[in-house]
């Protein structure tokens, strides 16, 4: 498999397919009261059935976001994947919420020692995976999953992803993972498959507006501050009071809201820290990087809600190493036009990718 520098990994995510190995906490909740335990852990209505995946967050004791949470029912059991936590931390959170339930008959079992994830992302990820598992893989809807008995007992294919491109996670027995990876790598030669570093995937998530627990400065903030209120319900029987108090504290503190910023083409990355507009501090630049795809700085910031709107320009951050301040502009994610929006498994294949008149990935480019 090709080992490429980061800019080319970005290009493969946006135009081809990459392989990576995410390491979220993985826990299976079993027992007669499994639903009750998961309902107490998940701050969102647990309206989800086998084959679907519910996207929510793990909260800390103060109602701040501690991680990304996928809930996938498996008949009477629940598979939990939590990015930003390890197995022990997720088990501990299950124990904490379980202690609030009287006589709960449910058991949380860590899977990380015996199971692992092998993941693909990119506009042609469906095609590569289809060569391994059959063309019906392209019909799996986003945020759904299906068993893959041909990959081993209990194997599961989850259609998820945080890059805005087609994304698949294969949940596999660790003993068989190496053989399956070898098959993917062998097939992947025709797809110029490369391995992507976790940091590249996290940067792609930032470009697309996905929450990522490894983005600097986001953990512990309220769902309201992070624009993740769709993942919670404030009248949740157990987590509601803590969520509500977090929301009220956020409001009292001035309610800065997460927003996305971009710099000018070919300018360097600014220093993380205060953001100013009209010589007044309006927020803080939390994280960012020079995007090889867009050719400019892209970042995450907390800003006054009155100004945290797209197309607000004249926002300045200090230059790195004491250089002149750099101008940024607030933008709405996704910051690019994902190729996966236009790749249709019924019409397109990787081999002829350069012959299709797709829309440009960079906004503002010429239409086909």
């Amino acid at each position: 498999m090709r080992d490429l520098p980061a800019p080319q990994q970005h290009r493969a995510v946006r135009e081809g397919v990459v392989l990576y190995r995410p390491r979220p906490a993985m826990v299976m909740v079993r027992g007669a009261d499994a639903y009750d335990l998961v309902e107490a852990l998940c701050p969102r209505d647990l309206f989800v059935r086998t084959g679907q995946i519910l996207h929510s967050v793990v909260l800390d004791a103060e109602g701040g976001v501690a991680g990304d949470l996928y809930v996938a029912p498996r008949d009477d059991d629940f598979l939990l994947l939590a990015d930003g936590l390890d197995d022990d931390a997720l088990l501990e959170r299950c124990r904490e919420v379980g202690a609030t339930l009287p006589d709960v008959n449910a058991e949380a079992i860590a899977l990380g020692a015996t199971r692992g994830l092998l993941s693909l992302a990119g506009p042609y990820a469906w095609e590569l995976l289809g060569e391994l598992l059959g063309p019906e893989i392209a019909t799996i809807g986003y945020m759904t999953c299906m068993p893959m008995a041909e990959l081993g007992e209990g194997a599961l294919c989850l259609r998820t992803g945080t890059t805005g491109e087609f994304g698949y996670d294969l949940l596999l027995d660790r003993e068989g993972m190496g053989a399956i990876e070898s098959r993917l790598v062998a097939i992947g030669e025709r797809f110029e498959l490369c391995e992507a570093d976790p940091q590249v995937l996290d940067q792609c998530a930032l470009e697309n507006g996905f929450f990522c627990p490894r983005h600097r400065g986001v953990l512990g903030r309220s769902p309201a501050a992070l624009q993740l209120q769709w993942r919670v319900r404030y009248d949740h029987p157990r987590l509601g009071p803590c969520l509500q108090s977090g929301k009220e504290a956020h409001g009292r503190a001035g309610g800065h809201r997460l927003c996305w910023v971009i710099g000018r083409q070919d300018e360097p990355a600014p220093a993380l820290g205060p953001l100013r507009r009209d010589d007044r501090e309006i927020g803080e630049l939390l994280d960012g990087f020079i995007s090889p795809t867009l050719g400019c700085f892209v970042g995450l910031a907390m800003a006054e809600p009155a100004l945290a709107h797209p197309w607000i320009d004249g926002v300045f951050a200090d230059g790195a190493s004491g250089q002149a301040a750099l101008e940024l502009r607030i933008e709405a994610p996704p910051l690019l036009q994902n190729r996966s929006l236009f790749v249709d498994p019924r019409k397109h294949v990787f081999a002829y990718r350069d012959t299709y008149g797709f829309w440009p990935i960079t906004p503002g480019g010429d239409a086909p």
């Binding site: 507006g209 209120q229 769709w230 809201r257 197309w311 320009d313 004249g314 709405a332 996704p334 929006l341």
Partner: protein
């Protein structure tokens, strides 16, 4: 750089359109969230509000009814439906092009 009265006008137009789209989502598409809980950068399809292809048709019709702007059935229209803020961006751009 947007400043002073032009900035205030821009923000007022943006907030008004944001409120309109939230009203469409809650009243026309029956999204089960209070309007103030629909954050501006909430995705509309797949994750986020998890609307489906039938909702997309209802959304386009309701937006046209409330704002007079028809989201084109092309790539630009498709990208304009990716989040609440992207819809607002599309509507603002369309209003600026209207004489």
């Amino acid at each position: 750089m947007l400043q002073g009265a032009p900035l205030e006008r821009y923000l007022a137009r943006r907030r008004a359109l944001l409120d309109s789209i939230r009203a469409v989502l809650v009243e026309d598409l029956r999204v089960e969230l209070p309007p103030e809980q629909i954050d501006p950068d909430t995705p509309l399809f797949g994750t986020g509000l998890a609307l489906d292809s039938i909702d997309a048709v209802d959304l386009v019709v309701a937006i046209e009814r409330r704002t007079g702007v028809r989201l084109a059935d092309d790539a630009m229209g498709r990208m304009g439906l990716r989040s609440v803020n992207m819809v607002v961006n599309y509507l603002l751009a369309a209003q600026e092009q209207t004489p």
